[in-house]
Subunit: 294 residues, 2 copies
Amino acid sequence: MAPILHALAQEQERLSQQERRIADFILSSPSEVVHMGIKELAEQCGTSPATVTRFCKAFHLKGYPDLKVKLSAEIAHTEMQERSGMSSYQDIVANNPLSQIVEAMEANHLASIRDTTSLLDMERLAQAIRLLCAADRIDLYGVATSSIVAQDFYQKLIRIGKNCTAFADSHMQITSASTLSGRDVAVAISYSGETLETIDALACAKDSGAATISLTSYSSNTLAAMADIPLFASSLEKGMRRGDMASRIAQLHLVDILFMGMNSEQFGQYVPKLEQSYHNVQNYRKSRGGHFQA
Amino acid sequence: MAPILHALAQEQERLSQQERRIADFILSSPSEVVHMGIKELAEQCGTSPATVTRFCKAFHLKGYPDLKVKLSAEIAHTEMQERSGMSSYQDIVANNPLSQIVEAMEANHLASIRDTTSLLDMERLAQAIRLLCAADRIDLYGVATSSIVAQDFYQKLIRIGKNCTAFADSHMQITSASTLSGRDVAVAISYSGETLETIDALACAKDSGAATISLTSYSSNTLAAMADIPLFASSLEKGMRRGDMASRIAQLHLVDILFMGMNSEQFGQYVPKLEQSYHNVQNYRKSRGGHFQA
DNA sequence: TCAATCATTAAAATTATTTTCATGATCTGC
DNA sequence: GCAGATCATGAAAATAATTTTAATGATTGA
């Protein structure tokens, strides 16, 4: 699967001291090598460019550039392999190289999307979509990170002409909740499911007779217990006290699913509106000399 | 899963005659290109090496060798995918069953995260992180969907004590931009890279002497051309007119990487602040009877 | 110890890539 | 429809990267 890296590892012992250094370096950080010139690599290994070229030739490569091209392909291969089986969250710790941070971040986000999808209860999801489609008004509650998710959902719903609010201010959320009716839906978003402001708002919405949906992590939590339809976004990322990255991605993923579900359910009704709002924005841009959307 | 090849195909129409020939050739036999020198390729396409290099630069590559390396990786990727039957971007159409929507959404989000990661130029990324860490002040510009991303970044930066603004109002963005200095950084976020308000704000920031970073899709676009450091989030999802779901996920993914990169770079400085802000929020909750964060 | 071989490198030669610059084409505003 | 500007293009110069050469030093086995 990775012929060159494999060969490097296998023949390592048979190599001379300098050559071994080169092999070691390539094996330890192949993805770095791809971005390096032969000079840099030689320097990093404490040897000369000439030795590096000979090294390449010894492995039946055309030369150094050829090594880079082949390595690039092998990295893509192995990463791919690892990824396709990978579903685990990785911790992000201090001062590790950028490439590791990127890798870990990717693993976490991919895992949280996959997990969220696999946790989905299709029946409940369908129910939620039906409720949202039928709602006269939709209220979205969330603070801090979850407020971002609420705002995102808000923007989408506005585009299909839904009567919808997503106040950032938690007092306004409660105020709004108390004006809901039985034909309305309230959606509470909170990773932990224990955010007081959001709980208060949802409780108020319940009192007003609105149907309720919660969007929380997959755990026993107050919001999920309160809601008529609890939905779950998974994120078990490690070291996450330092900001909830993957959880937010997972929640947005769920929001997208809800939104697309609504579009599909009410295709004839919503999609024309979406198209129109898209074209209106586009025309506005054109009239000002630019093009395309945000 | 093959961002460059995809971008080539997508932008084909916008290219000049000579450039189109190059794009055609690369698309028709990418695996040949990997073994060719720039001269050969130019000859094959009936054009000059100069045009080929410029062509590479237009697609945000370092140069011709960079194209070969990236292409090599993409070829390996796609082969791998075909073999393992992995899914890439899928269209979402009307009235298909919910389970299909969920599947397509998942495929799109996963693909856009993977693509974004594979497109990352580590060097530029590192530069961007260094700039952000060193900045006296950070300004974030974005409207509509991109405003959500800006807000998200804003929340993160605030938590580590960065002096930072992210006005939703585009006039305020320009006002803020005009007060920047040479020690500040402006980040412009826009999927298309052609949002007028955002371009104006970034131009203004440039005039003020601030360093500039753009966060756009992988294409030739105004913002990327303007910025000192252009960063790219890929999303080639089909049916994009119906809302930019995956692109936003990809951008948030990049924001997370930038943020974690900053944390790692300045571990001693930022992480204690993060921990503190986390604990302060937690204590506030506890004193009111709840627990955990949003 | 002395050849003989091998690994190694500095520097030269070669090759590849990029930049510059001049040219011609196309587009813009008058 | 015409001057001026802008853009694309390729030839050639400049630069950069890689490879080869040739000389040196180290190691090994008689």
